[in-house]
């Protein structure tokens, strides 16, 4: 069976201060047609870099190894022209800050129709018509007036909807969404997520959704991949992840969330800080912060293993009984 998107043993090194730094290590994940896969992680975990790699949007001096395939075809040997075509027709990205990704001196209408007019030779009027229809679909009233407005006249939530509409215009099979709601207010976030959810159902679009918010990922996606220090440490379904996390990092992350409905006397915290891939020690990247660390964790890198439908990268995954809520600690809390 071919996957829509298959990332296979992807490793990426980037140059900072004239030195190569690892940012992704042996990342493997797949996205099926009409499936939403979330990449969840803290800063430096490599979640954004994974999405950027898929569209070849890495900085110029990046080194990439492994394979990325779309619809069964490898993208690794693509020329820059192929990439451009791929981005213009098959896959598109929504960024965190819409204001930074829309040219402030162009009208909304010009921004939306540019790709259609230039890449697909569509008539300008026809393109504007389509743009207006799409704006209405993403919940923007008075679309025709909006097309004549400039980005600064629209609120952040409004602009993010415009971004979504711009992505829909090229009818991609895959959307890469990089923290698309992080800069928005909660009520606007709910709205934008609802729109994305509807569109996915109607258009059968697949999505790679990048977020730091576990709850959001759980509410919105079919599968969740948890990233830490450039590795994927666990891939699971939202239900599975929240009831029985397999990786100590996932469990600790879940337990350290502040709960909306109850006050926790003391949040179970993870000591230390999240590491970037290049800072990770040899062996398991999480060993320094892990309450279950053993000698073997420092000796060898755990390989991904399949346990009960989930994939986990932990030496002790099969023996540990982890829980996800602070209240139900089974005597294993490290606090």
């Amino acid at each position: 069976m071919t996957h829509l998107l298959e990332i296979d043993h992807l490793s990426v090194d980037l140059v900072t201060h004239r030195r190569y730094h690892k940012v992704l290590q042996d990342v493997s994940v797949t996205v099926e047609k009409a499936e939403v896969v979330s990449l969840v992680g803290e800063s430096g975990s490599g979640k954004s870099m994974t999405a950027r790699s898929v569209l070849n949007l890495l900085p110029a001096q990046g080194k990439m190894s492994g394979n990325i395939a779309f619809d069964g075809q490898s993208l690794m040997d693509s020329t820059s022209k192929d990439w451009q075509k791929f981005r213009a027709t098959k896959a598109a990205m929504i960024f965190q800050d819409p204001r930074a990704s829309i040219n402030p001196v162009h009208r909304i209408g010009d921004f939306l129709t540019e790709a259609l007019v230039h890449n697909r030779d569509m008539d300008r009027h026809e393109a504007l018509e389509r743009a207006a229809t799409l704006l209405e679909q993403v919940g923007i009233d008075d679309a025709r007036r909006r097309l004549r407005q400039y980005p600064h006249e629209l609120s952040g939530g409004m602009l993010q909807r415009v971004m979504i509409a711009s992505v829909l215009l090229i009818e991609p099979q895959l959307i890469l969404a990089d923290e698309p709601t992080t800069a928005l207010d909660v009520t606007t976030q709910a709205d934008v997520i609802a729109i994305l959810d509807d569109l996915r159902a109607q258009r059968e679009m697949a999505m790679l959704f990048i977020t730091h918010d576990l709850e959001l990922a759980a509410a919105f996606s079919d599968r969740i991949a948890v990233m830490y220090a450039g590795y994927i440490v666990e891939v699971s379904t939202p239900a599975q992840l929240h009831t029985r996390p397999l990786h100590p990092y996932t469990a600790a992350l879940l337990r350290s969330r502040p709960m909306l409905h109850e006050r926790t006397a003391r949040l179970p915290q993870i000591s230390g800080r999240p590491l970037s891939a290049f800072e990770a020690p040899p062996g398991c990247p999480f060993q320094d912060r892990c309450p279950y660390v053993q000698a073997q964790c420092g000796e060898s890198l755990p390989q991904p293993q399949l346990i009960g439908g989930s994939i986990v990268r932990c030496h002790r995954a099969s023996e540990l009984e982890l829980v996800s809520t602070a209240g139900a600690e089974g005597g294993q809390s490290h606090e």
């Binding site: 709910a190 992350l253 949040l267």
Partner: protein, 290 residues
């Protein structure tokens, strides 16, 4: 890095005040914005309209709302980096409704109320070592000898979970979470009665956020300091505050006990805010609030 805190009895210093730590009545802020293209006309934009609240010593008040709700404006008026257009503010028993006239008055207000900002990357002077940063505050507010100050710096760093060695470095050598700890230590150094936390945990990673929330709760328990905790994150507000005030476009729509507001909200807007928080089984609805 060590976890939160060890118990240093000497570190529990806070200014004692009689009566409420903070009393605010009818607080108002109007911004003048230039209207239209090329026009000389001005439009008044009401950022905060008649906010009133009072906060007892040792308690914690959450101010929640979305962007443009005026929550940060209230914080800025309280600490004096924004001038109030109307209403009265009383902190630690002294009036601060009008802007401070003299440096000594500003310093006095600084010793009554301190603030921690959202972005740990811009809230410390990049050229000043951590020790230098705290030392400057101690010199400003307290009469101490050099060795006393050195001792106090170590206590303060320890209180926020930083080592003596970390005091020697520049901010760029610390992570975001560690910098936020420094910002908290700097605020505590003035021994204020009230600490304003303006989205102080919002920019942090989840695992770091938990550390800082625990730290803040520890400090309040030990020092009896009052907090004004400004946040858009209701789950965090639940963990840190006992009273809450909900703002919508500058107007207070609901205020009371945090538990009550989050468990049984009365106002529609509060309900909408709560319904918008993603949680297991959450199904977002399309609502147009723009």
């Amino acid at each position: 890095m060590s976890d939160a805190t060890s118990n240093t009895a000497t570190a529990n210093k806070v200014r004692r005040v009689d009566g409420p730590a903070v009393e605010v009545a009818g607080l108002r802020k109007v911004f003048r914005v230039s209207g239209g293209a090329g026009g000389r006309r001005h439009r008044d934009f009401v950022a905060v309209e008649g906010a009133s609240f009072s906060l007892e010593q040792g308690h914690s008040l959450g101010i929640v709302g979305e962007s443009g709700s005026g929550k940060t404006t209230i914080a800025r008026m309280l600490v004096g980096i924004e001038k109030a257009s109307g209403g009265t503010m009383n902190v630690a028993g002294r009036d601060r409704s009008a802007a401070a006239k003299s440096t000594s008055e500003r310093r006095r207000r600084g010793s009554e109320m301190q603030i921690v900002f959202q972005d740990p990357y811009t809230s410390l002077d990049p050229r000043q070592s951590i020790n230098g940063c705290i030392n400057e505050v101690l010199k400003l507010h307290l009469t101490m000898t050099e060795p006393e100050r050195r001792q106090r710096i170590i206590e303060l760093l320890d209180q926020v979970g930083l080592t003596e060695r970390q005091g020697l470095v520049l901010p760029k050598n610390l992570s975001g979470g560690q910098r936020q700890r420094v910002a908290i230590a700097r605020a505590l150094a003035a021994e204020p009665a009230v600490l304003v936390l303006d989205e102080a945990v919002s920019a942090l990673d989840v695992s770091i956020q938990a550390q800082i929330i625990n730290l803040l709760n520890d400090i309040r328990e030990r020092t009896n300091m009052a907090y004004i905790f400004i946040s858009h994150n209701l789950a965090v507000v639940r963990q840190v505050t006992d009273q809450t005030l909900v703002l919508k476009k500058g107007v207070v729509v609901e205020q009371g006990d945090t538990e009550k507001i989050l468990d049984a909200p009365e106002d529609d807007y509060t309900k909408l805010l709560l319904a918008s928080v993603p949680e297991p089984g959450w199904k977002p609805r399309r609502v147009n609030v723009d």
